[in-house]
Amino acid sequence: MIEQLIFYVFALVLLFSATMVITVRNPVHAALFLVLAFFNSAVLWVMAGAEFLGIVLVLVYVGAVMVLFLFVVMMLDLNLSQLREGFMKHFYIGVPFAVVMAVQMLLVVGSGLFAPETLPEARMPIPEDVGNTALLGSVLYTVYVYPFELAAVILLVAIIAAIMLTLRRREGTRHQDPGKQVRVRKADRLRVVNIPSARRQSEQE
């Protein structure tokens, strides 16, 4: 009873924040609503027993990805009126795409692939004493090891590509070389000069 109540509360907040993401005007507010949506879906996953996935969703998406997202959105000086311009023009092109996507999703979700009796739980009962994380790991590194490694390699390629895109070597900038700074010795920088102190005027004459 309480569990259902909690589920409906979080599900409603999830739907509300997901709707707000696409309707709210201010892009920063939209990003924050997306954070809220992620957080609520993480709660729903934890309630469904997928504690590892739920916590990792918070850790990766809420804790890292959305922070960088917010970063970018806050730094960009977005012109709101420019963004809203031409909404009706794109609306007529957008609607068919939205309909096609909705039909596709209905076909996939409604095809029976996601029916309760086809879930892996039904085919392969989960042992009670083994944790969620250990189970996931044992499958990920045995049955699905090749897809898993492949995904890792794709991510690595994406990382290298992203770094290469932002890497600009400009001539003439004065970068510090920390290695050089550490290697510097006193003798390289400091020269002790023995300057004879000036004599009194009376002695000079």
């Binding site: 309480i2 920063v28 924050l32 954070v35 504690e51 590892f52 916590i55 990792v56 918070v58 850790l59 809420v62 804790g63 890292a64 922070v67 960088l68 917010l70 970063f71 806050m74 730094m75 944790g131 969620n132 994380t133 510090q176 920390p178």
Partner: protein
């Protein structure tokens, strides 16, 4: 009815954790001022109550009675919710903390992951505060702080991956029990580089000196909370110190044997200290780390921003990656007394 009593019981436990925690925050601020005072050869607060012991309460009441000023053109809702967003994760993380054998509110299996997720949420309070304040100094402070927290989270996460490899468990009680034994059985010894990386990134995560560029007062006034006053400022203050205590408690659990006494299992000394409850050892070890926080602040100059980034990305993360490989070899070899 049974559900209701259980609910009340859980609430009582939460209060039993939070009240000592908030008192600890109050006295940590007092300790900070006294310790730094002693290091700088001055007295620190010693007027309110005996030896100045009521100073934290005087500070709290002063802040509570001050007006909360909301800057013009600030986003009112986000401005007020930001301090709460920074405090809530700092308090929520304590739900899985084992204070002694079996003395834990929620003994979940993914405890370590939960802690990492909660500590990664704290950055939102900082970012939202910086943005909602509609002030350039606050914005600059928030940007610095967010970049720093996100960078050091990686090093910290990797260091804790080493701990969970060594313990073979993500349950915090399980991690402590994997270190059962005298002081050289604890994980600080086989995981020494990870321990150092964890502690450095822990200090950086909490935006404390020498990594306090987020509120570098000589450059950007007070950073992200420059526009806050009264209770809202007090909440930021509370969150910072609660996070410090959390990082110290995690250091004790992950690397310093949690509630075990340093003589546990030794022939003569072990039984001599058996009467000391585990929570006493836990708190004693925590105070050592908290003292380190204060000593750092009094002795180190502030890092420059690019130096912080270089340290995080080019020194700490490679160290953790190398040591994870070394650790895997140690576990495969069954190196005693930790992994046999």
């Amino acid at each position: 009815m049974a559900e209701l009593t259980e609910f009340i019981w859980i609430m009582a436990k939460i209060v039993a954790i939070l009240v000592p925690l908030i008192l600890a925050v109050a006295y940590l601020t007092y300790a900070e001022r006294r310790v730094i005072g002693a290091i700088q050869a001055r007295n620190g607060p010693n007027r309110v109550g005996p030896m100045g012991l009521f100073q934290p309460f005087a500070d709290v009441f002063k802040l509570l009675f001050k007006e909360v000023v909301i800057p013009s053109n600030a986003n009112r809702f986000l401005f007020l919710i930001a301090p709460m967003l920074s405090l809530m994760p700092a308090l929520a993380a304590w739900a899985v903390m084992p204070f002694s054998d079996g003395l834990v509110l929620s003994d979940i299996n993914a405890g370590l992951l939960y802690i990492l997720a909660m500590t990664s949420l704290g950055v939102y309070g900082v970012i939202i505060a910086g943005w909602a304040s509609n002030s350039k100094y606050a914005m600059l402070g928030a940007m610095r702080s967010a970049a720093q927290i996100v960078s050091y989270e990686i090093a910290m996460g990797f260091a804790l991956v080493g701990v969970l490899m060594a313990a073979g468990s993500m349950n915090l009680s399980g991690i402590v029990n994997a270190q059962a034994g005298p002081i050289w059985n604890w994980f600080w010894l086989p995981l020494l580089p990870l321990f150092v990386v964890y502690w450095i990134s822990g200090v950086a995560e909490t935006n404390r000196a020498p990594f306090d560029v987020a509120e570098g007062e000589s450059e950007i006034v007070a950073g992200f909370h420059v526009e806050y006053s009264g209770t809202a400022f007090a909440l930021f203050f509370l969150a910072e110190y609660a996070n410090m205590i959390l990082i110290a408690a995690l250091a004790v659990i992950m690397f310093m044997g949690g509630w075990y006494s340093p003589f546990h299992g030794l022939p003569v000394l072990g039984p001599m200290f058996d009467w000391v409850p585990g929570i006493v050892w836990f708190v004693l070890k925590m105070t050592i780390f908290l003292y380190l926080y204060l000593a750092f602040r009094a002795t180190f100059p502030r890092y420059r921003y690019d130096q912080i980034m270089r340290l995080g990305w080019k020194v700490l993360i490679p160290v953790t990656v190398v040591w994870l490989v070394v650790l895997a070899l140690m576990i495969l070899a069954g190196l005693g007394p930790w992994f046999n």
